[in-house]
C-alpha cells in the first residue's frame, strides 16, 4: 500500500479503516457522509476480506453491523446529523452487548433537515445521547485528513481493546478538507481480536448474546462492568493538540474541528502582527483531555472559545474553567465556517479591550 495519498477527510477515514483491519462497512447514503460509502465501495474489490453493504436505512446499517460484529467482524458505519438518533440507539445496544463498532458522524447544520453546510451542533446530543441507558462511547474529534487517519486507527484500537462502540465526529467542512496523508506516520499494527465470535458452537458450549436482562442484580452487574470499562478508558492517553506560539500567559484559544483549523490560520496571521496566542484542540470530547486543558488554563487569564453551534461546546468545557478566567465566545451558526479575517479581528478587538 502506498505510504502517502492525497485524500479528503472522509476518504482518509476509509483508507485508514482498511489499514486497521476493518472487515465490513455498512452504510446508507445521506449527503455529507455518503462519500465514505462511495470511497469504500471503490476499494472493495481490490481489498480481500473487506466488504461494503448499502442498507435500506441507517438503522439497519447499524444492526447488520451488530450481527457481523457478533460473528467476529471488525465493522464501521457512518451517519450524518439527521441520523444521530440511530447512532445513539446503536451505541446503547453495542455497549450492552460488549461489541466493537466504529461509527463516523458527519455534522451538518440543523435543526430538522437543515442544510448540508457544516456545524458543530451534535456535541451535546452525542455526549448526552450515548449515555442512553448508561451506555457510552468515546467520541474522537479529528480535524484534518491526517488526524482522521490516526483517529480511525485509534478508534479501532479502542473498539477492539475495550469491546465498545467508538464515534468519530467530524464536521461537514473537515470531511471535505484535502491534504496529503502520510499513512506511515500512523504506525499501524495488527489489532488483536479479543472475542470468541458467534458462528455456531463448533465443539464449544453455546453462546447467547442478548441485551435483555430480567434479573435486577445481573443488570446491576452489567452496569458495573460498563463503569469499569469507562474507568479503564479514562486511563488511556488523553487526545489533544496544543499549539504553543506564545508564553504561558498568552491568550488561550480552544476549538475543535473546522473551528480549530481556522483558529490556527488566524493565529498564524496574527503572529505577523506581533500577537501571540495559544490553541488547545481537544481530539476527543469523551474522554475529554481534562487534565491537559486545566493545565493550559492555569496561567491563561483569557480564554477564547470558537464553536459552530449556539454554545454547545461551552457547555462541555465550562466546568473546567476557573472563575478567574475571562471567557470570550465566537459562534457561527447557519452553516457558515468562521472566516480567518473574522477570527482575526475578533481576537484583535477582544485582546486589546481586555488588556
Amino acid at each position: 500500500m502506498e505510504k502517502k495519498r492525497l485524500l479528503k477527510g472522509t476518504e482518509s477515514i476509509g483508507e485508514s479503516a482498511i489499514r486497521s483491519g476493518c472487515t465490513a462497512f455498512y452504510g446508507y447514503p445521506v449527503p455529507t457522509q455518503s462519500d465514505l460509502l462511495e470511497f469504500l465501495a471503490g476499494r472493495e474489490t481490490e481489498t480481500p476480506g473487506f466488504s461494503v453493504y448499502q442498507s435500506e436505512d441507517p438503522q439497519s446499517a447499524f444492526f447488520m453491523a451488530y450481527g457481523a460484529a457478533a460473528a467476529g467482524g471488525r465493522v464501521m458505519t457512518a451517519v450524518n446529523s439527521i441520523d444521530v438518533p440511530d447512532c445513539i440507539r446503536a451505541v446503547s445496544y453495542f455497549s450492552a452487548a460488549d461489541l466493537p463498532l466504529v461509527c463516523v458522524v458527519i455534522s451538518q447544520n440543523g435543526p430538522g433537515t437543515g442544510n448540508i453546510y457544516p456545524a458543530q451542533s451534535d456535541t451535546l446530543s452525542l455526549l448526552g445521547g450515548t449515555r442512553l441507558g448508561d451506555g457510552f462511547a468515546p467520541i474522537l474529534t479529528p480535524a484534518t485528513p491526517s488526524d482522521m487517519a490516526a483517529a480511525t486507527y485509534r478508534a479501532f484500537q479502542l473498539a477492539e481493546g475495550h469491546q465498545m462502540p467508538v464515534i468519530i465526529l467530524v464536521d461537514a467542512a473537515c470531511a471535505q478538507l484535502v491534504e496529503t496523508v502520510d499513512f506511515s506516520t500512523v504506525g499501524y499494527r495488527e489489532i488483536p481480536a479479543r472475542r470468541t465470535p458467534i458462528r455456531g458452537k463448533r465443539g464449544n458450549p453455546k453462546t447467547s448474546l442478548t441485551t435483555l436482562e430480567l434479573d435486577i442484580e445481573k443488570m446491576a452487574d452489567r452496569k458495573a462492568r460498563l463503569e469499569a470499562k469507562k474507568a479503564a478508558l479514562l486511563e488511556e492517553t488523553p487526545l489533544f493538540k496544543m499549539d504553543d506560539a506564545g508564553d504561558d500567559d498568552a491568550p488561550l484559544l480552544v476549538a475543535f474541528g473546522i473551528a480549530a483549523v481556522q483558529a490556527r490560520r488566524a493565529m498564524d496571521a496574527l503572529k505577523g502582527e506581533g500577537i501571540a496566542c495559544r490553541l488547545f484542540e481537544p481530539l476527543a470530547l469523551f474522554p475529554f483531555p481534562e487534565a491537559a486543558f486545566r493545565e493550559a488554563l492555569e496561567k491563561a487569564g483569557r480564554l477564547f472559545i470558537l464553536d459552530m453551534s449556539d454554545g454547545q461546546f461551552d457547555a462541555v468545557i465550562e466546568k473546567y474553567i476557573p472563575e478567574s478566567v475571562s471567557v470570550f465566545n465566537f459562534y457561527t451558526t447557519g452553516g457558515a465556517v468562521p472566516r480567518v479575517e473574522q477570527i482575526q479581528s475578533w481576537l484583535q478587538q477582544e485582546i486589546a479591550s481586555s488588556h
Binding site: S55, A61, G67, Y93, R199, G200
Partner: protein, 255 residues
C-alpha cells in the same frame, strides 16, 4: 429372541432443559420444539446460529442449545444478515420473530432482506397480536378482533384490512422456499416440521432466502382457553392466511 429397539422419539438434543416461560397452551412452545427437532434432524446444531426478535420470542436463546443472538425491535433480519455475511458458507443462520415485530417495525427490513436474497431461514410466529406488550393490535390482527389497543375490535376504516404478508414475499425474485402452517393438530405439526427442515435444507444447499410463517395462538391475550382459541383462529383465518407451500426453488410461486 433378541429385541432391538430403535428410538423414534425423545427429547430433542438442541432443546435445552430450561423451563419455558410461555403461557400454558401457547404455540411458541411447540414452535421452539419443532425448531430443535429440525436442527437435530439436519445435524447442524454445531454450525447454526439463531436470531430472535423481541417480545415472547426474546427468551429463545435460553431454550435452544445452540449459539443465539437476540435482536432489537424490528431489526432481527438486519442482525441475521450481518451474521450471515461474516459466517458465509461455513454455517447456517435462522431468525425466529413474532409477526408484530417482523411485519410492523421490521417490515421494511423484511422486504429488503428478502430482495437482497440473504442466505437466511426466517420463521415468523404469527399469533395475530403483539403478545408480550400485552396483546395489542398487530399488522395481522383481523378486522373486528378485540385487542388491548382496539377494545371495540380492529376497525377496517381506521386500520385497513390485513393482508397475507407471506404471499407478498413470493413475488420477490430471490426468495426460494415460502410456506405457512398452523401449529395445532398432529398432522399440521408434522407438516410444519417438514417445512422447517426444508427451509434449512434449501438454505444449506441453495443459499436462498426462505420463509415459513407459523400461525399460532396466544390464548392469554385472546382471553380464550387454548382449545377454543385454536377453533377461533382456524375458523377466522382460513381464507386470509392459508396453509401450505407457496413457493419452492424448483417450481417458483405455487399459490
Amino acid at each position: 429372541m433378541d429385541l432391538k429397539f430403535e428410538q423414534i422419539a425423545g427429547f430433542p438434543k438442541s432443546l435445552s432443559e430450561t423451563p419455558q416461560h410461555f403461557c400454558p397452551g401457547c404455540t411458541h412452545g411447540v414452535n421452539t420444539r419443532l425448531l430443535a427437532e429440525a436442527i437435530d434432524a439436519m445435524q447442524v446444531s454445531e454450525t447454526i446460529v439463531g436470531v430472535c426478535g423481541v417480545g415472547c420470542s426474546a427468551l429463545l436463546p435460553d431454550y435452544l442449545d445452540i449459539d443465539m443472538v437476540a435482536a432489537p425491535p424490528g431489526q432481527a433480519l438486519s442482525v441475521a444478515s450481518g451474521l450471515a455475511h461474516e459466517i458465509g458458507d461455513s454455517g447456517l443462520v435462522f431468525a425466529y420473530v413474532g409477526e408484530g415485530d417482523l411485519y410492523g417495525r421490521g417490515m421494511s427490513t423484511l422486504m429488503h432482506t428478502a430482495i437482497r436474497g440473504e442466505a437466511l431461514s426466517v420463521f415468523c410466529a404469527n399469533n395475530l397480536n403483539t403478545g408480550m406488550s400485552g396483546g395489542h393490535m398487530s399488522p395481522t390482527s383481523l378486522v373486528g378482533q378485540k385487542t388491548a389497543s382496539t377494545p371495540e375490535g380492529k376497525s377496517a376504516v381506521k386500520y385497513g384490512i390485513p393482508i397475507d404478508f407471506t404471499r407478498l414475499l413470493t413475488d420477490i425474485p430471490k426468495t426460494s422456499f415460502i410456506a405457512r402452517f398452523k401449529g395445532f393438530t398432529a398432522g399440521d405439526i408434522k407438516k410444519g416440521r417438514e417445512y422447517i427442515k426444508r427451509s434449512l435444507l434449501v438454505q444449506k444447499y441453495q443459499r436462498g432466502f426462505t420463509f415459513v410463517e407459523i400461525l399460532g395462538i396466544c390464548p392469554t391475550n385472546l382471553e380464550m382457553p387454548p382449545t377454543k382459541a385454536v377453533q377461533w383462529v382456524k375458523a377466522s383465518t382460513s381464507g386470509i392466511y392459508p396453509s401450505g407451500i407457496l413457493k419452492t426453488p424448483e417450481m417458483g410461486r405455487i399459490q
